[in-house]
Point group: D2
Chain length 175, copies 4
């Protein structure tokens, strides 16, 4: 895997395999930021999602969380973890804890955005939480929400409309 | 201050002085948990808020954040912090970071609850964010949201309705 | 599992099965707190470890992390996660992220304590990191360090010697 | 403040004013990474510190924490915060909480590094903790430790020696 894009591509492939397209994530980002940034272009949102998915911490979290989801779906986990994941126990919080390395990436706005969409569950997040599909997405829904929240937070941090030049330095340094 | 209740009382007094009654926080907790716990009694919500406000980390966060709000209101901070606080700069995140020690107290549900009400701003949070009052509540609104989120999370963790006895141990151990 | 102690017992059993005795954790706690608390009794340290292991978040983290360790040992994970875990990749951070729900439990002292023993690796932590045993303890060593750090932090928060009565309220409220 | 470097420069000036030179931070970074990266050049360490100090979250944390230190030194804080800061109360944790936005910046290694130097207190951190100077550095010592920890963590993430090309993607994407 000498190609620098390989882990990025593997992460995108894992998301696709589990039914999540990058355009689904873009839709979540749009919902979070449309009220704040004008115009909010496809290019800007896609670049932001791309940057988030290139982060090693994000790649590691996706690889680990999706593995647990798949193993649960295949009934290959030990008890009681197997039952906890199948029932998506409301007090099991390891899925949310694993997203801390993602929501943290671009400042504290990421936390608020994540909490909001994790509770409201718009778009793809509603589908991921639909237990009637028979799929286990205990970790995936939190990972996808966190990626969207971080991408939205990064847009906020790099958007001149939100900057007050009389107070803050250039967003060019923020990447 | 030999009385064990003194720091608790001082924290409640600071909240009151800044216009936040415990019943305002209870209203936020009710909004967060009414869909999940039946019945959701005043006694249970008040006990949960009481427990949160007895935690030293919470008391320290309130004392520190409210001090910064009051100093900003009195124009006693150095630049550029004075301007950042007066304008409630959207990218200033120290207020949200300071709440981490509160939202963390009863597990990861606290994070989601906090993100949600910080974005939707129900009840007292809307009033705290009303800039037309001339008051500076940069830290206070996040502290109040975090206290409510933690109290709601604690209720979720101690509520038998949310427990699956076949999987989890007794909530009695959770305090 | 009606018995409230069952998840606690299951967690202790998992630790024992992987070679970690509660007395090993007590040794770590002793190393962290011996300079600060006198006398530092077995009873106090054991009670503190017991309280930490009764927390649902801790039980969930141990159950999840040890499962991943065991699956890696049995070569049952998909690539690239299998290789990452076998090699204990230095930049894989999901193990440390998973401990956030443990180190957070009793305030920010837990973070410092965790960072310290995770770097110095005293006692059982050294053995857990010994790759020559053929075992995979990628998650376990961080979990054990975090449990010890949280137990030490809880002792600090409940110890009257560290209290200044003229400033703080009673530690009795802190549990 | 149209100049993109202004907030960076203001942060460096605040550190200098409080007795912390960038070379002091470089010394801490060297201590944390010398065992892992060869050669560990001045240029690489300085660039890493520079990148950390350009982050808005870091600038905000330094501006806020140093303000509180200075106000405490000038006896301008209300009680009980004034006494808490003067005595550097061991259970006051807002200083450590405020560093979460810094230690998080480059992954979980930052947490471990921070916990370690916060406990061992090498170099400038020892001086900052010397109460006999009459200065209040409750927040500053944690901020400096966190900046060094994050800079060391960023070096680890961008250093090819720590990469396993057969597993990970290029560090070039990590900035």
């Amino acid at each position: 895997m000498k190609n620098p894009e390989n882990f990025y591509q593997l992460t995108v492939n894992l998301l696709n395999e589990r039914g999540v397209k990058l355009s689904d994530i873009e839709e979540l980002v749009y919902g979070l930021q449309k009220a704040y940034i004008h115009p909010l272009t496809h290019e800007a949102m896609q670049e932001s999602i791309h940057k988030i998915l290139q982060k090693r911490e994000v790649q590691n979290a996706v690889i680990t969380g999706v593995e647990l989801d798949k193993l649960a779906e295949q009934h290959k986990l030990s008890e009681p973890l197997q039952s906890i994941m199948e029932k998506d126990e409301p007090l099991y919080g390891c899925d949310e804890v694993l997203t801390f390395s993602i929501t943290n990436l671009y400042g504290s706005i990421g936390f608020t955005n994540y909490g909001y969409i994790d509770k409201v569950k718009p778009g793809i997040l509603k589908w991921l939480n639909d237990k009637s599909t028979g799929r286990v997405n205990v970790f995936l829904d939190d990972l996808v929400g966190a990626i969207a929240a971080a991408a939205a937070s990064r847009l906020a941090h790099t958007n001149p409309d939100l900057e007050d030049d009389s107070i803050y330095s250039s967003p060019k340094n923020e990447d």
